[in-house]
């Protein structure tokens, strides 16, 4: 692949909804991440945030402890003092409140303690995950609408 080709690809992606591109051709591999992802288009489970809780179910905790654990996949841009926010339970990860809304937090954005970062849906309950400490978002590690495990890193932040 030459520079010209790369330019063409970048130009083609401008103004689209694409936030990430993985491209392989024989030995050649290319990964692109676009800096300002627009609102996610699809959600696996389009359930309103106010969905009623089944009475018998205990409500999972709303807030996750920040960044005490878990080695995250190495991110190129990560500084040594970067930290991750991990999923407090198994569920489905959403970056915005609904498919029509922008993400709660964009790469480069500084978040305050208590600010909502994402939603992890478990058992039809939309659980808002809040920041437990301030930071600047370096990377969103999970694609919108993907399943996440307990303890799985969701975001990488750097302290501010």
């Amino acid at each position: 692949m030459d520079v010209e080709k790369l330019r063409e690809i970048l130009a083609a992606l401008q103004g689209t909804d694409v936030t990430r591109l993985d491209w392989t051709n024989g030995q050649e591999r290319l990964t692109l991440r676009m800096g300002h992802p627009p609102a996610p288009v699809t959600a696996l489970h389009a359930v309103p945030a106010a969905a009623a809780a089944p009475a018998a179910l205990p409500t999972p905790p709303q807030v996750t402890p920040l960044a005490t654990a878990a080695a995250a996949p190495a991110a190129a841009a990560a500084r040594d003092d970067s930290f991750t926010v991990n999923s407090p339970f198994v569920g489905t990860f959403y970056r915005s409140a609904s498919p029509d809304n922008p993400p709660f937090v964009e790469v480069g954005q500084v978040v305050k303690k208590g600010q909502v970062l994402c939603i992890v849906e478990a058992m039809k309950l939309m659980n808002e995950i809040e920041a437990e400490q301030p930071g600047r978002l370096l990377e969103a590690l999970i694609q919108n609408g993907s399943p996440v495990e307990y303890g799985e890193p969701l975001f990488r932040f750097e302290p501010v």
Binding site: P58, F89, E149, Y150
Partner: protein
């Protein structure tokens, strides 16, 4: 048939379920705690999801996490294994309400058998024999004498407010009855503030015999013979075998028949095990029922040649039993030994890293386990490391095979009860098949363990 089964359990039984599902062409989803991330049940499943931290309460007993895992993985059924949530009727209900298949009996069956008093009442009504005794508290001495004669000596007097072996008196002769009743009642009054007493048949040498029930969703029921589980220490089973040396064809047929009839009456479905107490006269009494697959199911598989897990899954999916009682026969003899991470003398748990491991093999030897070299036995869960099942043509041949296999079993880095099993397999009452639920006590009392354990 199901397409993808989520296994709400861990370790050897999770792996056992994966094996059955794979042979049926069904995909599997393992769930696990952070501590079990490298367990074989996670590695051998088609998919896996971490559902919580090490404590069971937050992972393997975490109902929202398990149901959420089923949803995100697209599983269409849940197998609960044994222990954990397997006999939790609320969980079974929630699984069904979520539109998933529940691989086990209906929640109402679990609920009925989960309450000991209700289970006894229901099974009495369904025709299972009960241990003879007073239905309630004994009114006075005259009533006591009448009851005791009906029940037959020896009898045991039990304080209504007692428990844990306190407030009990064994009466062997009618002449002692009145005197011992007065003493026992006075003692109970002093100890518990209540002198009320029950009377029951006292079984000197009780044997624990259980019948494996297999039922479909359409009312058809058969039994797969018995397992003898009398080798116990503090109500924990250590060794199980099938067939039982205490049963003959006639008794086996009778126990199986009344068990199947009772199950038909309550319209039991899927797999279950009815536990009976067998006394020295050959009378048997209903104790309780387990509404799940049992730890010791492999001995039944070995003598019937039928995969009980596959059977359980296909019956839960609604398939017909398609077996007659006549088609079920017990061939040869099988013995299962539970290999636990525990001190062979004190029986204290011995979790830790297994530094060397070699499981026995050869004809007629099966080991169900997730252990291997560098496997860590975790302090959060059960201490059972493996189940070793030997099968041979006869009971003596099976005992020889079990001794031979134990010689090959190497587990280093942790303590195990293998030395205990070696002694048990040489203990004359066991070798002769003349043992009961108190035999382990006698073995431990009379023989000093070999040096070095």
């Amino acid at each position: 048939m199901f397409h993808k089964i989520l296994i709400a359990n861990r370790a050897e039984i999770a792996l056992r379920i994966i094996r059955a599902a794979r042979e049926l062409g069904i995909e599997t989803v393992a769930v696990h705690s952070t501590a079990d991330a490298n367990s074989l049940h996670v590695k051998f499943a088609d998919e896996s999801l971490c559902i919580g931290p090490p404590p069971s309460k937050e992972s393997y007993l975490n109902i929202p996490a398990i149901l959420s895992a089923a949803e995100v993985s697209g599983a269409d059924a849940i197998h609960p294994g044994y222990g954990f949530l397997s006999e939790n009727a609320e969980f079974a209900e929630m699984v069904q309400h979520a539109g998933l298949g529940w691989i086990g009996p209906r929640p109402e069956m679990i609920r009925m058998m989960g309450n000991k008093i209700r289970a006894k009442e229901a099974m009495k009504e369904a025709g299972l024999p009960q241990l003879p005794g007073s239905e309630g508290v004994v009114g006075d001495e005259r009533e006591l004498v009448r009851l005791a004669e009906k029940v037959g000596f020896p009898v045991i007097l039990k304080a209504a407010a007692g428990g844990g072996g306190r407030g009990m008196k064994i009466v062997r002769e009618k002449e002692q009855l009145a005197q011992m009743y007065r003493t026992a009642s006075a003692e109970a009054l002093a100890a518990f503030g209540n002198g009320d007493m029950y009377v029951e048949r006292y079984v000197e040498r009780p044997r624990h015999i259980e019948i494996q029930i297999v039922a479909d969703e359409h009312g058809d029921v058969v039994h797969f013979g018995e397992r003898e589980c009398s080798v116990q220490r503090r109500h924990q089973k250590m060794l199980e075998e099938s067939p039982s040396p205490a049963l003959n064809e006639k008794l086996r047929e009778r126990m199986g028949r009344v068990a199947v009839e009772a199950m038909k009456k309550v319209r039991y479905n899927n797999l279950g095990t009815i536990e009976f107490l067998l006394d020295e006269r050959g009378d048997f009494f209903f104790m309780e029922m387990n509404t799940r697959i049992q730890v010791e199911h492999p001995v039944t598989e070995s003598v019937t040649g039928i995969d009980l897990l596959k059977e359980q899954i296909r019956l839960a999916a609604g398939e017909e039993l398609g077996r007659t009682q006549k088609s079920i026969a017990l061939r040869g003899h099988a013995i299962e030994l539970r290999i636990n991470a525990e001190d062979p003398v004190s029986f204290a748990p011995s979790p830790g890293l297994i530094t060397a491991y070699h499981a026995p093999g050869g004809l007629g030897v099966r080991v169900d386990s997730v252990a291997h070299e560098q496997y860590r036995v975790l302090p959060f869960y059960d201490s059972m490391v493996a189940k070793m099942i030997v099968t041979a043509d006869s009971r003596p041949a099976a005992i020889m095979r079990a001794r031979r296999a134990l010689q090959e079993y190497v587990v280093e880095g942790i303590k195990t009860n293998i030395p205990f099993h070696k002694r048990l397999l040489q203990f004359e009452p066991f070798v002769q098949g003349r043992y009961d639920t108190r035999t382990v006590e006698r073995l431990l009392a009379e023989s000093a363990p070999p040096a070095g354990g």
